[in-house]
Symmetry: C2
Subunit: 302 residues, 2 copies
DNA sequence: GGTTTCCGTTCGGTTGTACTGAACAATGTC
DNA sequence: GACATTGTTCAGTACAACCGAACGGAAACC
């Protein structure tokens, strides 16, 4: 009978590509991964990996076993889900990955209602960037990811994950309070061409989308501040030091502290959650998603 | 992630009923089984077993997990099968359980052809009684069982096993060589009512069937010899010490050393093999079955 | 009712093996 | 050619699975 831990390493290898990455991902030493995969080859009786260059490559049998192993790990998780489903109380622990700017105001309210409705449910939250978050969900580091998607910037598709849209969050132009209102959205955006901008750091989807927005309006934004934290954006804009783009969710129903103007074509980012398909039926996941939807509906009456 | 070894213990418990039986079947100590199942309950987070009387009983969640675990173990085996299928050479090892009287002349020829055709295939054979053999196949102690079935004596059905009929083996009445031939089969049988009989030990299907046969012919056999080994039967009969019932397969194509007479209704036992359905597609199993079929066809041109 | 038998659990003690860190060879990159 | 990265090997370690023995409980036996 094949060892499941070793199969998990094999699957992780198919995702990450190198033994070192597997070691990091599963927090083992390289040595351990190497030894365990060798042991797996001995168990199976056929070579699964070929050393090529300074990396490794799967043999045909290796690929076959990866496919099988994925199914096994899924079913292993399904077992836990099935047991949880047969229970009345929602229990266990859900590990949520949050892309920083996605959640913010959504999460406190969600966690609050979960705590009162399902006291036996333990929720863990860790912030991370969306790419590692998504593969992290695939690798069972997290059970649910709360992420965002900007218009025209689709994320790589993970076949083993589902995707539930939580809310559409309007993005607006944020300027110093008291600025003269501009009737036309395009004019309002163009009027900022010489203003200093605050945007999220390069490499984020938000940043790429923002730059594209400005370029279609005919200018390159003068990015003077690269900050990840959106509350910092608000402060900079409020102080009149920069203009920026903010999602409505930042206010969480409060009255905004800066001046907001609509953008051309009224763009909206999508807030969605993803879970492994096998775990999507778990009461714990469903409970968290229900609470998220409640919170979103309350803050953003779509 | 649930521990598969513990799940295997749980599945075995569902088959055997008591922790002690599980410990025997998997050759662990009772202590270990108890500890591991407790650990499994801790992993799952809900009680799986209820102590009832001096045994244990599954909780609803326990039953759910058993069903899941069976699927997991199957898929775990399917992984090995899939890898083996992707290979050209037939390799690995097949553990065959043989019900003593079933095989005899069949097995040597089979093993011989396997050795020459698939040198990389390792075959292990252990003799055992049919009940332990069948549950042994279910529990993966054996991969294939070679068994027999006497007319009207069906075996308990194992849903997870398949069943392939190898041959129909005629049963005949065996007497001292040189006895006067009797034209009618019923008369021939009745003529033995005062003879000493050799039959297989009580509790075997063969024995039960033989007794029923005599009773329908109107007499109770005078069983003087209870012997498991069929070659001993032949010797006793040859020496004129007893009459008996012998399957044709005993001769393996040689000329019989005792006198044979047909029985009423020309009864035939069925020789069949059973394997786990998940493993039936494995090249190794298919190779063994092909060799068995060859041997059967050669010895018994049906 | 007492004895026996079979069950499952608990408790120390032992052992196997999965893991680590360091040193290594091989490959690719600057 | 120096350096970074990858995977392997090796000796040592630590954890957890396992065992034997002792125990408490429940049924079956006389």
């Amino acid at each position: 009978m094949l060892d499941v831990n070793r199969l998990r390493m094999l699957v992780e290898l198919s995702r990450r590509g190198t033994l070192s990455a597997v070691a990091d991902a599963l927090s083992y030493s390289k040595a351990s991964v190497s030894q365990q995969l060798s042991a797996l080859e001995r168990e199976v009786g056929v070579p699964l990996l070929r050393r090529v260059g300074r990396g490794v490559q799967f043999t045909p049998q290796g690929n076959v076993l990866v496919a099988e192993a994925i199914g096994i790990l899924d079913q292993l998780e399904h077992a836990e889900v099935a047991v949880a489903e047969s229970l009345t109380e929602v229990t266990g622990t859900v590990h949520i990955a949050v892309f920083q700017s996605a959640a913010h105001s959504l999460l406190p309210r969600t966690l609050d209602s979960l705590r009162s409705e399902h006291p036996a449910l333990r929720v863990e939250v860790t912030e991370c960037d969306p790419e590692t978050g998504l593969v992290g969900v695939s690798s069972r580091d997290y059970d649910l990811i709360l992420a965002e998607q900007y218009p025209g910037r689709t994320r790589p598709i993970h076949a083993d994950l589902d995707r539930v849209v939580l809310a559409h969050d309007a993005i607006v132009l944020a300027r110093r309070p008291g600025d003269a209102p501009v009737s036309d959205a395009v004019d309002a955006l163009r009027a900022t061409r010489d203003e200093p901008w605050v945007l999220e750091p390069a490499g984020t989807a938000s940043r790429a989308w923002a730059e594209q927005l400005c370029r279609t309006a005919g200018f390159e934004p003068d990015v003077r501040f690269e900050v990840a934290d959106l509350t910092a954006h608000v402060r900079l804009i409020h102080a009149g030091l920069a203009v920026g783009l903010l999602p409505e969710l930042v206010w969480a129903g409060d009255t905004p502290s800066v001046d907001l103007a609509p953008l051309p074509e009224a763009p909206r980012r999508e807030i969605f959650s993803s879970a492994r398909r096998v775990s999507a039926a778990a009461p714990s996941i469903r409970a968290v998603r229900a609470a998220l939807a409640d919170a979103a509906a309350h803050i953003l009456p779509d």
